[in-house]
């Protein structure tokens, strides 16, 4: 969804923050470096590292962003465990949008890749879906920004 949001928003952002975390800097997203450092520390759970990341995010972005980021971290700690614990397959749309991301971000190397299977029909029509989706997102974003 990050890539879809980037395409929709027309922002000059990169996906490197996903794979590299805070090493990628802000990756074109406001407070991106501090947000990924905070997410990493919250998942790892080391108290000292987390306190440092929390203070840095709060100082740069404010308390409201800190609280909302903590909420998203908690929510996705839950989501990944539901996905991995129930062995759900990829949705058709997600599969079409993420096929080349697997290589770009090294996702195809993950253990859970063996568990999470794509729908064979989606795989067959993947190039068509992906082209339509990318174009559709750009057009929708452009039209939405024009209306504002």
């Amino acid at each position: 969804m990050l890539r879809a949001s980037i395409q929709y928003s027309g922002a000059d952002a990169e996906l490197s923050g996903i794979a590299e975390g805070s090493k990628a800097g802000d990756a074109g997203i406001t407070h991106g470096e501090r947000l990924t450092a905070f997410a990493d520390a919250a998942v790892a759970g080391d108290p000292a590292e987390l306190a440092t990341a929390r203070d840095a995010l709060r100082a740069a972005a404010g308390s409201e962003i800190l609280v909302d980021a903590a909420g998203v971290v908690g929510n996705f700690e839950r989501m990944v465990r539901i996905a991995d614990g129930t062995g759900i397959p990829l949705d058709g749309v997600v599969s079409a949008m993420t096929s080349d991301l697997g290589i770009e971000l090294g996702l195809d190397e993950l253990e859970s890749r063996r568990v999470t299977k794509a729908n064979p029909l989606t795989t067959a029509f993947r190039p068509v879906f992906r082209g339509v989706l990318k174009t559709g997102l750009r057009v929708a974003g452009w039209r939405s920004r024009k209306r504002r």
């Binding site: 969804m1 909302d68 903590a70 990944v80 465990r81 397959p89 993950l110 299977k117 974003g141």
Partner: protein, 251 residues
């Protein structure tokens, strides 16, 4: 008043977040669909203990998480096999495999329905604790278990549709079961259907998504942002994607 013990930071926690946290905490202590209130509370406390379990830390560091035997540290109010399932879900979800799930089911300590409800309680408690820790607070205390019996209602239409566990089929195939869980929606992503074998847990999942991230109806609309959030959509998706990547979650 916020129940989070963080007097130094004085963080402005949205009322919607606090309300859902209170609702989730209460849900851990009352009877569910397949577990009693005492059992759900025990699952939640075991999930809380997993993050500091020595055996789980050794397994996480090992080449194969199934190569190291031993006992988990925690309250131990549930059977050892059930405790092991809870700890693995919390501490090493990326290496859970179909063969592991099949073995758990074959052992006969859990039914599919109990497993789905256990996953839900485990991950919801973990989400609350991660949130508390992230803002620099202590975990929220659980009240005593409430009396009552599980309702034991299974959606009649639930069937295997690609996941390890049965799910309510989409739309007309799911009939009243689909309508009860998802209203007039024509499509719900797999992540929103994963727990549909126990519809009451789907309701808790939706509440949590809406308050911490966004309504499941808006997830596939990349232009949507919840109006009361400090994070914009790009920032939200960056944090979400990074958490998934660190957890090595392919989905």
């Amino acid at each position: 008043m916020s129940p989070f013990q963080n007097s130094e930071l004085h963080l402005p926690i949205r009322p919607a977040l606090l309300a859902v946290h209170a609702q989730l905490l209460e849900s851990f202590t009352r009877s569910g669909t397949w577990w009693t209130g005492a059992e759900r509370r025990a699952i939640a406390l075991e999930a809380r203990a997993a993050s500091t379990c020595g055996l789980c830390a050794k397994r996480k560091a090992a080449l194969s998480p199934f190569s190291i035997e031993g006992g988990h540290s925690g309250p131990g109010e549930l059977g050892a096999e059930i405790v092991d399932v809870i700890h693995r879900i919390v501490t090493d979800p990326g290496r859970l495999a179909r063969s592991w799930f099949d073995r758990v089911m074959a052992e006969g300590h859990l039914t599919e329905e109990q497993y789905v409800e256990l996953v839900s309680v485990t991950v919801l408690l973990n989400a609350l604790d991660v949130f508390a820790c992230a803002i620099g607070s202590s975990p929220l205390a659980l009240a005593d278990a409430q009396p009552g019996s599980p309702s034991r209602v299974r959606p009649a239409t639930a069937r295997i549709e690609g996941a390890w566990v049965p799910q309510v089929p989409v739309g007309a195939d799911g009939g009243d079961d689909w309508t009860a869980a998802y209203g007039d929606r024509e499509y719900v992503p797999q992540i929103g259907r994963a727990l549909s074998l126990v519809p009451a847990e789907v309701a808790l999942l939706n509440l949590t998504s809406e308050s911490h991230y966004m309504s499941i109806d808006h997830v596939t609309d990349p232009g949507y942002s919840e109006p009361d959030r400090a994070l914009d959509r790009l920032q939200m998706e960056l944090v979400a994607s990074r958490v998934s990547a660190v957890n090595e979650c392919f989905y």
